[in-house]
């Protein structure tokens, strides 16, 4: 592997995460001023972007194959733990998207965070995130991918808790880290399982890699390993658990809405466009494993569809502009999973392109929506409640138009980018499974509906907040315009669009199925129309009841409270966790008690030995007693031997008399 060989190998790909890494180290260790830090981070990412474009261009040809550059990290037990990078269309497209959207958001943040005292720290974390994300998409080793995956999680933790002075931010950061870790455990088990089964972590290795036909065939030949899945399916299922955690799928979605406590550019970059899509990316990357077992593909599409519907419903009942977008992200990620799962069932390898395509388009319009929301929040004096907005359209024209463009793409309005990608998902769901199709379709209908509701709240009517609306600086609006163009103008090059699908998986994708086209149109236009009908003319605001709430009281309360999932987890999982800790502490006191008893017995015995045996029996009675007697007898002697002559004479006389008497008595 050679980092400087730009023509024959792909080792140079390492430079893409290395530039942000250098920025991270620089900012972390030398702590320069905020403005300078932003410049360093932007420059580093620009360098990565240029290289990523080169990588993307290399894959954009009919002859593009899979290029790898591997090296051994550790050699242990005769087995190599190998690392490497891989360049294939999936890598190329992801690299280009992440760096491009990333750079726009970096530029936006330079303005957005310019008054924050922690700006240097912010760009340090943001660059660290880029290291992880770029490393993740180009890893050719499941282990390396996992390591970058964790770096991304760490950066996300640090950024959600960026405003750690807010207790809610610190709590959200903790929640996000722990919840995604539950998923990560699945990922870890999956990679350990894969390593045991194949003795390699490499994904592509000249025919020997985990994702290549030889290993896949061998793995799927072992039937009924666990839960009736074959060898490849089990690994895929575990990896999918990791993806569920990272991409906020049911039931591990609870962290994502709370993650909005971070600064808005972070929500845009990490919790909308890139990191949360890492779960979807993982499934796409490991797709051959998923393809080997239809059951797992079914699970993927069902989990995705249910998540999409659930999150779309919850989004209906939210009033926080970022929370609505957060739930819509969860919902869209669910649709991407449907694209992968159902796409795999319907089109085999083609499924990769269906899920990934929506990932790519979503990244643009969702980043746009979040950045737009950031501009609106910024403009309304840091107010996030949509009931306190209103009339924004007239005051912030550019930002509003851009936001509406993003909203249209999210609603899959015909000929926007979202329309094409969602169309493909619905099409594959139609082919694969009827129920999944109808669930996804209703989720899409709701998407159009809640976005219209939100836009009515934000843009129509009179301004209901306090203070004047401030205009955004041009450094903030410029990225919005660029993203809006990408979200809308994609429709003009629609033929090229279908080419992307082919490009991503190498499989030609069917473009037309009239029923799906009809449904797509009905969904998008119907949802928007319904939204306008209900919210368009209504009185909105804090004092007015939400029109939906007026007609659907109890079900709407469920939506407002996000189906009480957080409360449910608090009542069950958290309790269980605490209870087991308490139980163990109880056991620990048992052990302590035992130890103390033994110690008590030992010291007690020591006490007994020392007090009773040693001091009483041996010392007092035996030793002291003997000494005492000797001493006392000494005193007696001392009385006698007092040195007075008369006394001695008295004694001698007394003795003589006694002797005489004794003689008289015994001598007879």
């Amino acid at each position: 592997m050679n980092l400087f060989d730009f023509s024959h190998s792909v080792g140079w790909l390492w430079w893409i995460p290395l530039f942000p890494l250098m920025a991270t180290v620089w900012l972390g260790f030398f702590n320069p001023s905020g403005k300078f830090a932003a410049a360093v981070a932007n420059a580093a990412l620009l360098a990565s972007l240029l290289l990523s474009i080169r990588a993307f261009a290399m894959t954009w040809g009919p002859e593009a194959g899979v290029l790898t550059a591997n090296f051994t990290w550790i050699q242990v037990a005769g087995v190599n733990l190998e690392f490497g990078v891989v360049l294939n269309p999936l890598t190329g497209a992801m690299l280009a998207m992440v760096t491009f959207v990333g750079l726009l958001i970096f530029l936006y943040s330079t303005s957005y965070m310019s008054r924050d005292p922690g700006m240097t720290r912010f760009f340090c974390y943001l660059s660290l995130f880029m290291v992880g994300m770029l490393g993740l998409v180009m890893s050719n080793s499941l282990l390396l991918l996992f390591m970058f995956w964790e770096i991304v999680g760490l950066a996300s933790y640090l950024l959600i808790g960026f405003w750690f002075r807010k207790p809610s931010a610190a709590a959200a950061a903790k929640k996000a880290f722990i919840t995604t870790r539950i998923g990560d455990l699945g990922f870890l088990l999956g990679l350990l399982w894969a390593f045991k089964a194949t003795s390699t972590f490499l994904l592509f290795d000249g025919g020997q890699g985990l994702l290549e036909i030889e290993q896949i065939t061998a793995l799927s030949a072992t039937k009924d390993v666990l839960f009736g899945l074959n060898g490849a399916g089990v690994i895929a299922l575990f990896l999918f658990i990791g993806a569920v955690g990272k991409s906020g799928q049911l039931p591990l979605h609870v962290w994502l809405p709370d993650a909005m406590e971070g600064p808005t550019p972070v929500s845009a970059l990490i919790h909308a466009a890139t990191m949360v899509a890492a779960g979807v990316f993982l499934v796409a990357r490991a797709f051959p494993l998923f393809l080997a077992d239809a059951t797992v593909l079914g699970i993927v599409s069902w989990v995705g569809a249910l998540t999409a519907l659930f999150a779309a419903l919850v989004a209906l009942g939210q009033y926080d502009i970022k929370r609505i977008l957060a739930y819509s992200t969860v919902s869209q990620l669910g649709l991407m999973m449907v694209g992968l799962g159902a796409g795999g069932l319907a089109l085999s390898e083609g499924g990769v392109s269906i899920g990934t395509f929506h990932l790519l388009t979503h990244a643009f319009f969702k980043a746009l929506l979040f950045l737009g929301a950031g501009a609106i929040i910024h403009g309304c004096g840091h107010e996030q409640d949509i009931r306190l907005m209103g009339g924004v359209f007239n005051r912030m024209k550019v930002a509003s138009i851009c936001y509406l463009a993003g909203a249209l793409a999210l609603c899959a309005f015909p000929f926007t980018s979202g329309y094409y990608s969602k169309d493909q998902i619905l099409l594959s769901a139609w082919t694969a499974h009827g129920a999944v199709f109808w669930i996804s379709a209703s989720a899409s209908l709701l998407t159009a509906f809640y976005m219209t509701r939100q836009c009515c709240y934000v843009f129509l009517g009179d301004y209901r907040g306090k203070g004047p609306i401030r205009q955004s600086p041009s450094l903030m609006t410029a990225p919005l315009v660029i993203l809006a163009i990408f979200s809308l103008a994609m429709g003009i090059v629609s033929e090229e669009f279908y080419h992307i699908l082919t490009y991503l998986s190498g499989i030609a994708v069917d473009q037309h199925a009239w029923i799906v086209v009809v449904v797509s149109w009905v969904i998008a236009l119907g949802g928007i129309a319904l939204g306008l009908l209900i919210y368009g003319g209504s009185q909105l605001g804090l004092d007015a009841t939400d029109p939906m709430k007026g007609s659907l009281r109890t079900p709407y309360a469920w939506l407002e409270n996000q189906f009480f999932i957080d409360e449910l987890y608090d009542a069950t999982v958290a309790r269980l966790w605490k209870a087991s800790a308490v139980l163990i502490v109880f056991l620990e006191s048992g052990i302590h008690f035992l130890v103390e008893t033994v110690r008590g017995l030992v010291t007690g015995m020591g006490g007994f030995l020392s007090k009773t045996i040693d001091q009483k029996l041996i010392d007092q009675i035996s030793f002291d007693g003997v000494c005492d007697r000797i001493y006392k007898s000494g005193r007696l002697n001392a009385i006698i031997q007092n040195g007075f002559l008369q006394g001695y004479l008295r004694s001698v006389t007394l003795g003589a008399v006694i002797l005489g008497v004794l003689y008289l008595v015994f001598a007879r």
Binding site: P167, K196, R599
Partner: protein, 498 residues
């Protein structure tokens, strides 16, 4: 000869430092630092001199007659495993001095005991004669008592007594095993190398004696349910001593388990492996869950040590190469990270807050930002995040455990729960300690920033943990060949038992 210098320097320093009058504390701590640094330097020289090609044999061997009547010799030497632990001991010794930099009270005696303890530890890692090993093992126990009882805090005499009693019980049990080996081998020798090569122990003998040796040494490694000395002792000990206790002394036990119990009685090890595996995962989960509910910051770290030692035991129980390498890596890794955590909690934070109760801490993130982020980094290292040594070690252990077919799947599940619980308690406690607010003391006055000594100490330990995490071959390359003889014996034993 080089390796033996570590022992000589330490004991010499113990004597010299003990003689210097206590009022010259500056001179004393300077000398102590020089001593620590020179032991570290010596161990690094050993690392440099280590011949990888002959990794399976002991190098630098010195053999002197000692007590011929019982066949005990003064025999020392090193292999990759002992070198890694020598380096760890030297490193922790240096950092211990750095974090005790402000000590004035009876500094001469403190460092005398400190280096007496370190000398004993070095001796154990070097000994190639079981009797000598046992002597050093005992020699290391005595100074611990005085250090805790004199310079400790809280229930120090109780903790000191508890720790010493546990240690002595452990070594008494281990001695029983060692004597059994002495007679069982039929050669009436304590020579470890000779016993490994030609010791013929019947399977029945091994199955009976293995648990005796393993438990005897395991007590010092914090093996459940004989672990309770560890948190109490670690908490009561002064910082430098808790760093040594958690960082190095617990590894004495694990080293004994690996070198003596598994190395000499492979068939016994194969027989008992599943039981050891279960105890190991109990250690992991049990320690982590208890750490989750502690309110004393130092107890959190104390129980986290118990939990992390579980990974060492799990690695030992796998009895395969990846697992044993993992166990050895985890010994080193936990030595570094555990020492760092104890230094932060016991010295850096405590010297400023004058409290260890999590409830007393108020808004520390703003009052000591540098220390807070250092602790966050240490916590991330402790929970085994990629990029830190803990990840590499735990990964090896988990791969090893996964490859051990005799482990029930539930052992893996428990290990997974343990990984999660580690994550949970580390984050929860970081938040309680640094991001929490206490109404009792509402002052927002900033604390003093880290001193130079503290910065050097933290920087040294954190960077070592990172370097090993990014480039583990630095250690695995010397560990792997040195574990080969034990693995060969195990492979042969595996065939015999099954």
């Amino acid at each position: 000869m080089t390796a033996l210098l570590t022992v000589i320097i330490s004991y010499l320093a113990a004597v010299v430092l003990g003689i210097i009058p206590g009022r010259h504390y500056r001179l004393i701590r300077g000398l102590a630092l020089v001593t620590g640094l020179s032991t570290l330097a010596v161990s690094l020289v050993c690392y440099g001199q280590f011949r990888l090609g002959e990794g399976g044999t002991f190098q630098n061997v010195i053999e002197l007659p000692w007590i011929p009547a019982i066949g005990a010799e003064f025999k020392v030497g090193v292999d990759g495993l002992s070198i890694s632990l020598l380096m760890l001991t030297g490193l922790v010794a240096v950092c211990g001095v750095l974090f005790t930099w402000t000590l004035r009270e009876r500094a001469n005696q403190f460092y005398a005991y400190y280096f007496a303890l370190i000398g004993g530890v070095f001796g154990v890692f070097l000994s190639l004669d079981l009797f000598l090993l046992f002597v050093f093992y005992e020699l290391a126990i005595v100074p611990k008592y005085f250090i805790i009882a004199i310079w400790g805090s809280g229930r120090k005499t109780y903790a000191a007594m508890k720790l010493v009693l546990f240690s002595f019980v452990g070594s008494a049990v281990a001695l029983l095993g060692l004597i059994a080996i002495y007679y069982g081998s039929g050669q009436h020798t304590f020579d470890l190398v000779q016993l490994m090569h030609s010791g013929e122990f019947s399977p029945k003998f091994q199955i009976v004696v293995f648990p005796v040796l393993f438990v005897g040494f395991g007590i010092l490694a914090g093996m459940w349910p004989f672990h309770t000395w560890a948190p109490t002792g670690h908490v009561a000990a002064p910082t430098a001593a808790s760093m040594l206790l958690a960082g190095v002394v617990m590894k004495l036990g694990a080293y004994g388990c690996l070198r003596v119990a598994i190395g000499l009685l492979p068939e016994g090890a194969v027989y008992w492996a599943p039981v050891v595996g279960w105890i190991a995962v109990i250690n992991i989960v049990y320690g982590a869950l208890i750490a989750l509910v502690q309110t004393d910051f130092k107890y959190v770290i104390g129980y986290s040590s118990v939990s992390h030692m579980g990974f060492v035991l799990l690695g030992l129980a796998t009895l395969n190469e990846v697992g044993l390498v993992g166990a050895s890596l985890q010994m080193f890794s936990h030595g570094v990270i555990g020492a760092l955590l104890f230094a932060l909690v016991g010295s850096v934070v405590y010297s400023r807050t004058r409290s260890r109760q999590l409830g007393d801490f108020h808004n520390l993130v703003q009052r000591m930002p540098g220390i807070c982020w250092t602790f966050v980094a240490a916590g991330l290292a402790s929970m085994g995040l990629p990029g830190f040594s803990g990840f590499v070690a735990e990964l090896h252990v988990l791969i090893g455990a996964w490859n051990q077919d005799r482990f029930s799947i539930w052992i893996m599940v428990m290990a997974g729960i343990g990984v999660l619980a580690t994550f949970a308690y580390t984050l929860v406690k970081i938040h309680e300690a640094f991001f929490g607010k206490s109404s009792a003391s509402a002052s927002d006055e900033p604390y003093a920033p880290m001193t130079l000594a503290e910065k050097i100490g933290c920087g040294l330990l954190l960077s070592i943990a990172t370097v090993i995490g990014i480039y583990p071959p630095l250690l695995t390359s010397i560990l792997e060949p040195s574990l080969a003889p034990i693995l060969e014996a195990l492979a042969a034993a595996g065939k015999e038992v099954f």
